[in-house]
Subunit: 338 residues, 2 copies
């Protein structure tokens, strides 16, 4: 498969019919970055079976509602319901319920709970309370959105990322929910560590192990290596399942020119002693041939990275528009040899 | 206390300071009619301690949310948050979440779940799940609305009115929730009976018995005698508590000229063999001196009623505007001798 990643004039050019029809690709993804990458991949690989294994460590229960930010961002993005400006939440969103909750003094008030989005949480919470596992709930919600991929939570068990920080008032260490750290504190508190609460009892959601076992390629989306991809890989059995894949494993750097493209990976990497660079993240993932994950590692065209044992390729990695994102997805497929 | 019920020019005229300052009045109320009557009473009796004992038999759990229509109607009405046109729900309401739930195919779609209103249900449900009894939840919600009365659910225990109807398709009898009968079917199915599911395990909410025991007057609001006032009085111990009151018990007819003023009392009364008239309802409640409830019974000025042992008074009973409603409340106080 030959791809010209600079060809932004033809973002939906047809591939020869049937070329990739039986192919299976698994993508490990977080929220906004992962969702946009998946949207590019869907157009870059028509007819291919794509399974998205999505981080649920950001999930949180607020106002009695179970909220799965990354799953929803992927679902809304692929289902054409996303607010493209924010990159999360619903297009045409309103905030009536949020304002009313604040009028009652109901905490927390810092979470962006939109009216349209809230219906998703109501349906999800109702199904979870009724005993359906998150994977089945996600399938049910997807019947409306038709994301065009098999959308799987990393696990049906509840795993929540907490951030160990030092309280500026008391000077004492405490663990706060990832959402509180990221949204309420805007990642301003230095993270001493990230803890996956509940991860010891988690296992990959139904379909995840099977998807890896038959995948023609596995892609680590340009999502946060610590609290997105790292959280997914932290589920017991996940790493082994990934490495069982007969396909190549390709990662895309979320760091471009020493900075994070979006999100707060630059605030997370130091806690694990990872250099904030494409090379640093590539080395953190490591070569599959050497006990790591990667067969190939894509860095931005202006970056270089020396990751021993890994096929490092420099390609445009900025998802600035659909055509660029599609080209980036094609580059990943190319690096995967599919 | 002399009241000119026709004096609509001075709906908030001052009473002599301190006249009723230590007085306590308990009102048994349902939704829209009860709420409007209470609003009139608050202005008619400034400084008086008013306790509203509100029907919760209409309560329902939909989309995982605990909804208390009558409590909310009273709270919003007295807290100036009501939609005055509909008589229920919030002013300036929007319906985004309802539309979104329908887009997911989440049943039921027939209930009027507004966005502003929904925040109330979220706060309530969260508190109930956390273990707070409904009476404490109601107090907490009232901190925002400041209804100016002590707002009590009839019971902290869950009691739900179901309606026994004949399924037009199958011809078989079944019991459906009151809300389904009233809103989905618009009371079109003939009710064979009304069943208070859970009532055998219910008891009056904290404060109810105490309020009756010291009340200077008890008022049965012009609410539905079957599914509002009747449901409240069906709570074990409620009737005895009411009759323990040292004050007079005054009822107001919800039937004017042989028709219901609002709601569906005309669809409910026949199931209990009660004539659809002010006299029929008055006789149903009965004279306190004869094992019934009433010391006095107010019927509309154009109606007559013979209720043995009861002081029947004909006064204007249409709550067409705040002044008329206030005059009606004053007439009730007058009949109570306070």
């Amino acid at each position: 498969m030959q791809i010209d990643p600079t060809d932004s004039r033809r973002p939906e050019r047809d591939l020869p019919s049937g070329t990739m029809a039986c192919m299976e690709i698994v993508v490990i993804a977080g929220g906004v970055g992962g969702a946009r990458f998946l949207a590019g991949l869907v157009t870059a690989a028509p007819g291919v079976t794509i399974t998205a294994v999505v981080n649920t460590g950001d999930d949180v229960t607020l106002h009695g509602l179970r909220i799965c930010p990354d799953l929803d961002t992927v679902m809304y993005t692929l289902g054409d319901g996303i607010d493209p400006g924010r990159g999360w939440g619903r297009r045409g969103e309103t905030w009536t319920v949020k304002d009313e909750l604040a009028a009652y003094g109901a905490e927390p008030t810092w979470f962006g709970l939109g009216d349209r989005d809230l219906a998703t949480h109501l349906v999800r919470t109702r199904m979870l309370v009724a005993g359906y596992p998150l994977s089945q709930v996600t399938t049910a919600l997807g019947e409306r959105w038709q994301p065009g991929v098999t959308l799987l939570p990393m696990s049906d068990q509840r795993v929540e990322t907490h951030v160990v920080v030092t309280d500026p008032q008391t000077g004492r260490q405490q663990a706060i929910h990832f959402q509180e750290w990221w949204i309420k504190h805007r990642a301003a508190l230095d993270p001493a560590a990230f803890v996956q609460v509940g991860v010891e009892d988690a296992r990959p959601a139904p379909g995840v192990v099977e998807a890896f076992a038959t995948a023609d390629a596995v892609v680590l989306a340009p999502s946060n290596p610590v609290v997105s991809v790292g959280t997914v890989l932290g589920v017991p059995g996940m790493r082994e399942a990934l490495l069982s894949t007969p396909g190549r494993v390709v990662g895309l750097s979320p760091i471009v020119g020493g900075s994070v493209v979006r999100g707060m990976a630059d605030r997370c990497l130091p806690a694990l002693g990872i250099e904030i660079s494409a090379e640093g993240v590539g080395r953190h993932y490591g070569a599959r041939s050497d006990g790591g994950l990667l067969d190939a590692w894509l860095v931005h065209e202006s970056d270089t990275a020396d990751v021993p044992g890994v096929d490092v390729r420099a390609v445009p990695l900025l998802m600035s528009d659909p055509a660029a994102t599609q080209a980036m997805a094609r580059a990943a497929l190319d690096a995967a040899g599919v």
